[in-house]
């Protein structure tokens, strides 16, 4: 697809942003940007808006001098300060476009630092190359996940555990859902990354320097010894960390779509059953029935509703799969990322939809204008388009700055699907003329 010369109202973010969501999902892992101070501050602000949590991201705070003579001194000093100030177990170092372009050899600088600085030997330092201009936040996330595993996975004794890699950005509530599901299922999984507490911490009156929670480093090391890896949210993304574990340590890898909607959740449950021989717990079977019930309840309201769905690739695919199950009509399916596999998969799921990649909201709006769209579903960044076209917007995914509860939005599993069904239906009702009266009885 030919990219126009300007992007108007972007539908994506840059690579370092994605890396933070991985770093923060690892126990006591401090995110660190090698670049100018602004990148760290802007992304902290952006994440704080979404999660409503304090977010610390360190920076090497490169200045003009650093840009000219190289950023090694700043990087080393920054790492030292983070170790002394924050006491992290690990530091994830993401590069910015500045660091990449001035040509700093970050892995080399980090090795030097570890040789020079005794303090650094107790801390896992892993540099991730995330030049902002190369790809979107989704790719930054996946690269960071892969490097974390590459850095830490170590062969020892077979554990019989299952690696459950989260291949795309989902909410703390989604992660909690997975954690509880597997605890209840009595399956020992290594869930990575785990932002369920680090980005949604309880209020205790204290603010620890490193937020509690995250996947223990020990568990990441142990991913090499698991019986299998399942990556959720990797149907159209590079397989990344899971593939690495398979090639390097022979841990069989199953890439799956995000379990969003009935079919994708069935697929997920079936795959886990197959791997473990343990049937899905009965309560979750009941939950599945409850989802069907919810879908039946809302089916007429949602029938033929034409939608515009946009956002991160894997979430969008899950959403259109659910919409199809409900008899809804996804007419516009868009992502800001450049991802031909997504375009193909989306077109297959929604043959009549206009599928867009590398889209911005001016392009999405253009397509929306050309169609009768009744509901938009995606991050809050579509709000101006929605308001302008007077289309109700149901906010799903990251970022969501203008509503409460982004951290608590559950979209995974049968329960998440139920909430999506109810949410979409209620959004339509609330925005229809003539209020809610007409939908009270069974007549609709």
């Amino acid at each position: 697809m030919l990219r126009s010369s300007a992007t108007i109202n972007p539908c994506s973010m840059c690579m370092p942003m994605g890396s933070v969501l991985v770093f923060r999902g690892i126990d006591s892992c401090m995110p660190f940007f090698h670049g100018s101070q602004g990148c760290s501050t802007y992304m902290r602000l952006y994440l704080a808006h979404h999660f409503r949590e304090p977010v610390d991201i360190a920076s090497s705070a490169l200045s003009e001098k650093g840009a000219v003579y190289g950023g090694a001194a700043n990087l080393k000093q920054g790492l030292k300060n983070v170790i002394e100030g924050y006491g992290p177990k690990a530091i994830g170092i993401a590069t910015t476009c500045l660091a990449e372009t001035i040509g700093d050899d970050v892995p080399q600088i980090v090795r030097e630092f570890q040789a020079e600085e005794p303090l650094a030997r107790k801390v896992i330092l892993f540099p991730v190359s995330t030049p902002s201009y190369s790809a979107s936040h989704e790719v930054g996330y996946r690269v960071a996940l892969k490097v974390a595993v590459q850095t830490m996975a170590k062969k020892s004794v077979q554990s019989g555990r299952i690696n459950l890699l989260v291949g795309s950005i989902i909410s703390p509530a989604d992660i909690r859902y997975l954690r509880r599901l597997f605890a209840y299922w009595e399956i020992d999984v290594i869930l990575l990354p785990d932002i369920s507490e680090t980005f949604d911490a309880p209020l205790t009156g204290d603010l620890p320097r490193m937020p509690a929670g995250g996947t223990p480093l020990c568990d990441i090391a142990d991913t090499a010894n698991s019986r299998a890896t399942v990556t959720l949210g990797t149907s159209v993304q590079e397989p990344g960390a899971g593939d690495y574990l398979e090639k390097e340590f022979g841990v069989a890898h199953t890439p799956l779509p995000l379990p969003v909607g009935l079919e994708f959740t069935d697929l997920f449950a079936g795959k886990i059953e197959e791997l473990t021989g343990l049937p899905l717990p009965k309560d979750y079977e009941t939950e599945r029935g409850r989802l069907l019930d919810a879908m039946v309840d809302a089916h007429k309201l949602l029938a033929d509703v034409s939608t515009a769905v946009y956002g991160d690739t894997e979430i969008v695919l899950g959403l259109i799969s659910l919409m199809k199950e409900l008899g809804m009509k996804p007419r516009i399916v868009a992502t800001g990322a450049a991802n031909p596999a997504f375009a193909e998969a989306a077109q297959k799921l929604a043959p009549n939809a206009k599928v867009m990649m590398e889209a911005d909201f001016s392009e999405i709006e253009h397509e929306v204008k050309a169609r009768e769209i009744e509901l938009m579903v995606g991050p809050f960044t579509g709000r101006r388009t929605a308001r302008k076209r007077r289309i109700p917007l149901f906010r799903v995914g990251f970022p969501n700055h203008d509503r409460f509860g982004a951290s608590r939005q559950l979209i995974l599993g049968y329960e998440g699907a139920m909430r999506l069904v109810d949410g979409m239906a209620n959004t339509i009702i609330e925005n229809r003329d003539g209020s809610t009266e007409a939908y009270r009885g069974g007549s609709e």
């Binding site: 994506s12 501050t41 802007y42 500045l98």
Partner: protein, 495 residues
């Protein structure tokens, strides 16, 4: 030592009355310390972005544009082009071969699609490194399109926010003086450093108008390009946000002979002083008596409302952490009006003069901090026993986690705080946050049943054995978090 976290930060934190040395400031941020500062681009962007009918094009990768899209809570009375995000969305290929062509074609396409009266082109880090000549591109585009196309030299790494303010002021200077249409009203002023956040300007402008004064331009709140072009026709510049706009005021004084005065529209005292300052400047007795009349009337009108809130917050301790010093100083006075004590005051980018001024107005024992970071802010808030923090969004959740009330005084606020009504809003916001029952809810519930703790005590370095799962589930059913590696867990279990 007040708080000791990072080497080299000592001089930046002082308690008034305990040090003979001036506060260290104006340095580059310490790497790794998580400064709350942003970059040059950010400074330029916040100053220029409120220009409502201009097109703001970010020349750089998409991130810089994404994270600054509509983040300024500046309101508009009309156009809303400024609330869109335009960027050249540079990709790898542009970095390799240069982004000049992309920029030139973006300018052409955007000008023909949106017909803006002017375009600002912001350069980002990468542009500075690869050396795109945006000045030449803008010049060429200007000739071609026939509107001002103004380069903003805001490569992120070339300093801090202050450099960005300067870049923005230089960009504004390109527009100022390009329209000589002078109004008949002899009493013409500009409001510099007034950004109309949450409609602040609209609480203030009518007061000046009532005094017979014309506001030629607010820079840059709710401003249109045409206002800026006529800004040199004003006879007085009022400078509110001094950090961002003193530079512009000085240049306008040199170039057009317009004197400037520092004022603030925040707090009853400062607002009243601002009105008097202008009346005094124009030397009109009638205008001065009108000012006094407005001050009397408005103070009487809002007085009872503010009294109500004062009675609920007086004696409480406030902490202030602002981007610039002008707002911080104004806040100290406003807190005095509310009977509150300021126990911490800090800024991201204050200079030596600013901190001297601050040290002069706060009382002994107040901690003054330059370019603070989250760890220091946390320690200071606890040490000084603050009841309220006034700052921006990044600091909001830090305060909340510590159980401390918060008031947003930054881009994101949705309530106007300037003028007489603004002070009522501010007093109310301080009151409802400090006195909310949420702070008094018990942090812990008393549990009379003894908890099972095996799961919590399980050493983190041991691999979870299947038998452990059952106890994990039990622990969870009891409402506990699953232990995920104890306090003493090594970095990697098999190291």
């Amino acid at each position: 030592m007040i708080v000791k976290i990072f080497e080299g930060r000592d001089g930046h934190i002082q308690e008034k009355g305990s040090s003979a040395l001036p506060l260290a400031c104006g340095n580059e941020s310490l790497a790794g310390a998580v400064s709350q500062r942003a970059c040059v681009y950010s400074g330029a962007r916040v100053v220029l972005n409120p220009l409502t009918d201009a097109l703001h094009l970010v020349h750089g990768p998409v991130g810089c544009a994404s994270y600054t899209w509509d983040i300024r809570g500046s309101s508009s009375s009309g156009p809303d082009l400024y609330r869109n995000s335009f960027s050249t969305d540079m990709k790898e290929i542009d970095v390799v071969f240069g982004g000049e062509k992309r920029l030139a074609s973006a300018l052409r396409a955007l000008a023909s699609q949106f017909h803006p009266p002017a375009i600002f082109v912001y350069s980002t880090c990468i542009v500075g490194v690869i050396g795109d000549d945006i000045v030449a591109i803008c010049k060429k585009a200007e000739a071609e399109i026939g509107i001002p196309v103004i380069p903003v030299k805001s490569e992120g790494f070339r300093g801090n926010k202050n450099e960005g303010y300067k870049a923005a002021c230089n960009a504004l200077l390109r527009l100022i003086g390009t329209d000589d249409c002078v109004s008949k009203n002899p009493f013409r002023i500009n409001l510099l450093g007034e950004y109309n956040v949450a409609g602040d300007l609209w609480c203030v402008k009518p007061l000046f108008e009532e005094m017979g004064i014309e506001v030629v331009a607010a820079l840059t709140g709710d401003a249109r390009v045409a206002d800026i072009q006529r800004a040199h026709t004003a006879r007085l510049n009022l400078v509110q946000c001094s950090g961002s706009m003193t530079y512009l005021a000085k240049r306008m004084e040199e170039r057009y002979g317009i004197p400037y005065k520092r004022i603030s529209f925040f707090g009853l005292g400062d607002m009243s002083d601002a009105l008097r300052t202008v009346a005094e400047f124009f030397g009109s007795d009638g205008m001065m008596s009108k000012a006094e009349e407005i001050i009397r009337r408005e103070t009487a009108r809002v007085g009872p409302k503010i009294d109500h809130h004062r009675s609920r917050v007086s004696g409480k301790k406030a902490a202030i952490y602002m981007g610039g010093a002008a707002k911080a100083v104004s806040l100290v006075r406003a807190f005095q009006e509310l009977g509150m004590d300021v126990v911490i005051i800090g800024t991201q980018t204050g200079d030596r003069d600013d901190y001297q001024k601050i040290a002069y107005i706060v009382r002994e024992g107040t901690v003054i901090v330059d370019d603070a970071n989250p760890l220091e802010l946390k320690e200071l808030l606890i040490r000084q026993n603050a009841d309220l923090l006034v700052a921006g969004v990044k600091e909001r959740f830090l305060a909340y986690k510590l159980g401390i009330a918060f008031c947003d005084f930054n881009h994101d606020r949705t309530t106007s705080f300037e003028g007489f009504d603004g002070m009522v809003n501010f007093a109310r916001e301080v009151d409802i946050s400090i006195n909310s029952p949420v702070w008094r809810l018990p942090k812990k519930r008393t549990c009379r049943i003894k908890r099972r703790t095996e799961a919590q005590e399980a050493p983190g370095e041991e691999l979870a054995a299947p038998s452990e799962t059952a106890s994990r589930v039990q622990a969870m059913a009891a409402g506990d978090a699953i232990a995920s590696g104890g306090e003493d867990a090594p970095q990697l279990c098999d190291n």
